[in-house]
Symmetry: C2
Subunit: 204 residues, 2 copies
């Protein structure tokens, strides 16, 4: 039996992947736990330990092959494919997410937009039409959508999350400034500028 | 001499604070490392260890007083005050941040808006006027601003970050999908929906 990987370790893998993609784009071919650690503010020992959960990726003294380690992390994180995403809430933030350039080649594509505002429904944003929430379950099923991003006001977010899970969504990225409760088995991540800011004020 | 606290520990404190604020708002008065850990997907032992860097906050078997621990974390993270923030880039995302309800009572207030688009400069957004980037240094100095949020396109972000640091900004929260290089001594945090999404695909 394989021991489950601690979630905190899983949470650091996208950060490593991001750094490796940056290095690869720069043309860097070899890196080390020391270099990565310095770049990310994580100890080299921690990085080696985290990666060791998944196998042997480097040799003592020779470092990591950037391209190889990056490919392994893409595979481990299952972003060696493209996940279709439903975006719910097409206000300022929803629009910003719909236009966000950072999804490309990183495993994700927003394929469906939903809003509850009748004046928005039927409008187009880029290639996509904004749809009524009534169509959520049907679209999630038809397009095999497992992930949603919620960008609605705080007071609407819990109900939207429940509708997503009922529709078959397995993982939610929540931008509303409230903590969502989802049923056991569904995943939720909260993204919140304040937690980032507070991490920095500590040092000021 | 006090040992420096590992940055990874500092990074978890805002998450604990967020959970404690949620509990306090619910009216919960006592919690435990076990309860917090279950809520956050972090082991109880890790939470106890993290908090022990900063003092004794609970007694064996009686748990933590939510209000007291919350106040201590506010103090440790220096968000028992209000930090003025400059927001640079008033596109869709900048507007969403300017309207974001989650800053209130959590230590931050956006006090100045900047954009490089001449058609936006002079316009108002809520109580604030959108200003030219030329005024950044002057405004940062006059208002004692130490923090900035960057919500400009990727290709403009590095120059904007450099202008911020030159103006006296000490800490940057970057929304542009590139990794910024800042001089030694300046802090930068990247917020990126993809790292959150990738943390969930691992489990799908």
């Amino acid at each position: 039996m394989t021991k489950p990987i601690p979630d905190i370790v899983v949470g650091r893998l996208p950060i490593y992947l991001r750094a490796l993609s940056f290095l690869a784009a720069e043309g860097t071919q070899v890196t080390s736990s020391h270099d990565l650690g310095k770049r990310l503010g994580i100890s080299a020992a921690q990085i080696r330990k985290d990666l060791s959960f998944f196998g042997e990726f480097g040799k003592q003294g020779t470092g990591y092959n950037v391209g190889y380690l990056r490919e392994q992390l893409l595979r481990i994180l299952k972003v060696d494919r493209e996940w279709p995403i439903a975006l719910i809430g097409v206000g300022d933030l929803g629009r910003a997410l719909a236009h966000y350039g950072g999804f490309v080649d990183r495993g994700f594509r927003i394929v469906a937009l939903f809003d509850s505002d009748p004046t928005k429904i039927g409008q187009r944003l880029g290639d996509l039409e904004i749809m009524s929430m009534d169509r959520l379950a049907e679209v999630v099923r038809e397009r095999g959508i497992q992930m949603a991003m919620i960008a609605v006001p705080a007071k609407a977010a819990q109900k939207v999350a429940e509708a997503c899970v009922a529709a078959g969504v397995k993982a939610i990225l929540n931008y509303a400034p409230i903590t969502l409760k989802v049923p056991e088995g569904a995943l939720v991540q909260h993204t919140d500028p304040v937690t980032h800011l507070q991490r920095m004020t500590y040092y000021l």
